[in-house]
C-alpha cells in the first residue's frame, strides 16, 4: 500500500515508506522525526512548516510526500555547521528575535535563505520575503533587526 521514497534531509539520506495521501509535513515530523518543522494552520497560511526543498522555500503542508522522492530537504536543524550556529541564528538570539519560539525555525530558515540570496536586503525586501510567516507574539521588529545585523556575515560569505 505504501511506497518507499528516498530523501536527503539535512545532509543525511533517509528512506521512508509513505502512503500516496501523506503530506510532506507529516512525514517529516511523524516518520522522520524532524520536529523543528512546525504547523499552525495546515493550509499554507501561517508558514511555520516552511522548509527548503531542493533549495526553494516551500510550505510543507501543501506538498505530498510522494512527489518529492529523490529531493533534498534542509530545515533549521541543518543550519548549524560543526557545532557552530549560523550567523542568523546567533543574531536571532542576540536581538531577542524570538518569544514563544514556535515560529522561530521557519523565520530563521527563511531569513537565512534570504540573506544567502540577497545579503544586502533592504527593509522592504526583508518584509516582503517574510510576509508568508506569522509570529503571533509580534517579534517582527526584532526579527528585522536580527536580519539586518546578520547580513554583514552573509556579505562576507558571498565575497569569499
Amino acid at each position: 500500500m505504501g511506497r518507499w521514497i528516498t530523501l536527503t534531509v539535512n545532509g543525511s539520506k533517509r528512506r521512508v515508506e509513505v502512503k500516496d495521501n501523506e503530506i510532506l509535513l507529516d512525514v517529516l515530523r511523524d516518520k522522520l522525526k524532524v520536529k523543528s518543522v512546525k504547523a499552525a494552520c495546515w493550509r499554507g497560511e501561517c508558514g511555520l512548516c516552511s522548509i527548503l526543498l531542493n533549495g526553494k522555500l516551500v510550505k510543507s503542508c501543501l506538498v505530498l510526500a510522494v512527489e518529492v522522492d529523490g529531493s533534498e530537504i534542509l530545515t533549521v536543524e541543518g543550519l548549524a555547521r560543526d557545532g557552530e550556529l549560523a550567523p542568523i541564528q546567533r543574531s536571532f538570539i542576540e536581538h531577542g528575535a524570538l518569544q514563544c519560539g514556535f515560529c522561530t525555525p521557519a523565520f530563521v530558515l527563511a531569513s537565512h535563505k534570504l540573506l544567502e540570496e540577497n545579503p544586502s536586503a533592504s527593509e522592504d525586501e526583508i518584509k516582503e520575503s517574510l510576509s508568508g510567516i506569522v509570529c503571533r507574539c509580534g517579534t517582527y521588529y526584532e526579527i528585522i533587526e536580527a536580519i539586518k545585523d546578520a547580513s554583514k556575515h552573509y556579505q562576507v560569505r558571498k565575497k569569499v
Binding site: K38, Q89, H95, V134, C135, I144
Partner: protein
Amino acid sequence: MSFKYVGKPIPPQDGFLKVTGTATYTFDLELPGMLYAKLVTSTVPHARIKKIDVSRALGVPGVVRVVTGKEYPYRVGMYAGDRDLLAIDKVNWVGHPVAAVIAETLEAAEKAIDLVDVEYEELPAIFDPLEALKPDALLIHEKMEEYRHSPAFKPIPGTNIANKFTLVRGDVEKGFRESDVVLEEEFHISHVSHCYMEVQNVIAHYHLDGTVEIWTSWQNVAPVRQIMALSLGIPHNKIIVRIPYVGGGFGGKAGLGWEALVAILSKAAGHRPVKLVLSRKEQFSTAAVREGFHAFAKAGFKKDGTFNAYSVRFILDAGAYADYTVNVGRAVGYSADGCYEIPNINVESLTVYTNKIPTTALRGFGYPESHWVLEQIIDRAAKKLGIDPSEIRRKNLVKPGHSHTCTGERLREDAGDPQKVLKTLVDEIGWGKPSENPPEPWKVRAKGLSLFVKGPAQPPNAAASAILKFNEDASIDLLIATGNFGQGTVTALMQIVAEEFGLPLEKVRVDYVRDTHKSAYTWQTVGSRGLFTDGIAILKAIEDAKNQIFTVASEVLRCPKDQLELVDGEVRVKGKPWEKIPLQDIVMGYTYPNGNSIGGPVIGRGVFMSTHTTYLDPDTGQGNPTIFHTFGGTAVELELDLLTGEINILKAVEVLDLGKVINPLLVKQQTHGGLIMGTSISLYEEIKFDERGWVVNPNFTSYYLVRIKDLPREVVARYIETPQLDGPYGARGIGELTMIGVAPAIANAIYNSIGVKLDRLPMNPEYVWRALREQRPDLVEEAWKRFSKYEKIVEVTI
C-alpha cells in the same frame, strides 16, 4: 547601585534551543503506544441529542473506541464548573464536542468522525447576550444551581447570567445631577481568537494504578491538576502535569483545557496514552476565544473637567460556557475607573451565556474592554468641555498615596507615577504639535492618547513559591512553576538569581519542563504576575539559601553572619576580601581538612502570599482585588484614508512605569509584541458568525492577523522606574499591559481630528468607511473631490 545582570539586556536564555529547532513543545511529543483522538463536534447551535450512533465509526480499521458524553457526565471548569467533557444531552454551540474517536492513527480518527451519526432535535438558539437577558429567554444552562463555582462569583440560576458583578461607590445619581456635562455612549467589541501559533494539544496517560500523566500546551501546571482533581475526583498527587515549551498562550491557555477529557479517553482506550491536537479550525470554533462585548456608559463631568460620575453597564457575550469569562466580567467591572479618580461610580457587569463559542481570558482580560470604553469617554468629554485630552487626563489622574480606586482601595504611595507617564507620552508623541500634512490630500493625519492601569486579576489568595537547589559546583537549579510561553520572565528571574549570588548567569538553570511533581507551586502565570509573585518567592528562597550558607561560613570563617557578603561566587568577610570561601566548598556542606563536616546541601525555599488582597463585597464591589498596579499609556499618530477607511499607524509610543526594568531587551520585545497584537485586534480581527451560529472565517485568510509588512512605521518604548517597594528590585508586571492602550488611542486620534466616533472593534476599513460616511459626509465629499481632481500621480506600491 550597579548590577551585573539586573537591568542588563540579556538575550533570552532559551534562545539557543529555539533557533536550532530543538526546543520541545507538547506538539512534538510522542509516547510509546500512543493513540490519537479526534472530536466530533456539533453542527447545530442548540439542540437536544436524540441519538448517537457510533457503529459505522467503529468499523473503520484502526479505531479503538468512540466515547460519548453520557458515559462520563462530569462537570468541569476553573472558576465556573459549567462545562461538560463531551455534550451530555444537549449541544450548546456549533463546534460543541459531542463524541471523541480514539484510533491508532490520526487519519483513521479523522475518517471515523465523519461516520458518527448524531441525531439532534433543535431548540431555538440565542446569539445575542441582550436577547439572552430578556425575562422570557430560553435557558441555555437549566441546572446552573448545581454547578460548582468559586466564591468570588455570583451566577444567577433561572437566568442566562453566569456572573453578576456590582460595584457602587459614592452616589452616582447625585453625581450626575451635580455635573455640568453628561454623556451617554455605547461601545462594542467582536469576538477574537488568541491565535497562539501552537494549537491546543494534550497527551494523557491514565495508568492502570490510577496515576494520570499529562503533557499539555498550557500556561500553568497547577490549575490543570486542580481542575482535574476537583472535577474527576482524582487525588492531587496521582495527577502529574508536565508542560514543556509552549507556543504562545495570551490567556487562551489559562482556563479550562482538554486534559480531563483526554485523561478519560486514555482510560476508555485501555489505559494507553492518547494525544488530542486541535486543528486551526477547531481553535476558531471549539476552543475558547475572547468574548464579545457591549457597554452602555453614562459619564458626568464638571465644567473644569472633573470626572464626577460614571455609570456603566457591561454585557459580556460569554458563549455557551463562561468558565474564565466570569473573571473577565469581574475584572472589567472593577477596572472601570481606569487610572482616574471618580468619586461617584456605579458598575454592573453581566457575563451572559449565548449559543456561541465558549470564551476565556485574553491578554489583559477585562482591562482592554474597560479602557476601550473609558478612554474614549474621556476624549468625548474633553471635546464637549473644550479641554485638551491630555489636560483632562492630567486633572483626573489618581494620586498614589492619596487616591482610592473604585473598589475603595487606597493607592499606595509607591504604586507608580501616572503623571510622569502622561508627561512622557505627551512629549514623545509631540502632543499639541500638528502632524505633517499627508502627501495625499484625501488623507488626514491625527494623534491620539490613551492611559491605562492594570493589576493581575486573581483571587486574593493566589500564592507562589520557589525552590532553589545547589549542585556540587555551586551551580543552581531553580525549581519554579512560572509558565514559559514567550514572555521572557524566566530569563529575568535567572538574572535575579545570578545577581544575588554573584554567579555567572550560565550557572543558573531553570528546566524547561514545568512539572507538578518537581516544580515549586505557583497559582498561575496570568495577569502579568509572574515576575512579581515568583520573583518575590525567589528572593525569599535566595535569602533562605544565603542564610544557610552564611551560617556555615560564619562558623568556618569565625565571623558573625552579618559581617559576611557574597561576591563573585565567594563568601567573604566584609572589608577583608582575602578571608573567603568559594561557594562550591559550602553548598554541599563544608569539610574541614580533617574530614569533619558541617552544614549540608543547600536548598532555599521561598513563598509569595498576597496578604492584603480581599474578595470584593458582593453588593458594592468594594475591597482590594490586586497585588500591584502598573500605570502606562499609549499614543499613536496615524494616517486615515477618508476614501477607503484604511488606518495606517505612523508612530506608536508606549510608556510604562515598570518600577524597575530587569531586562531592557526583553521588556522592549514585550512592548513591541503588545503593540503589534493590539494593532491587529484593533484594526482587523473579528470572528464572524453566520445566521446559524457557524464561524464563517475559521482560518488566517479571512481572519486576518498583522504580518511583518503591516507594522506601525515607527515604535517608541519608554520606561519609568518608580520602584514598587515590595516588588523584586522594585519591578512590576508588564506582559499584558502593552496591548491595552492601542485601540482607544486609535479611536481617539480619529475622534479628536475629525469628530468621528468609532464605537466598535475592529476598526477595519469598511467599518471606518461607513462611520465616515454617516458622521462626516461633508469630509468624505471633500476628500472625493480632491482625489478625483488630484494633479499628481501617486506612486502606489503593490
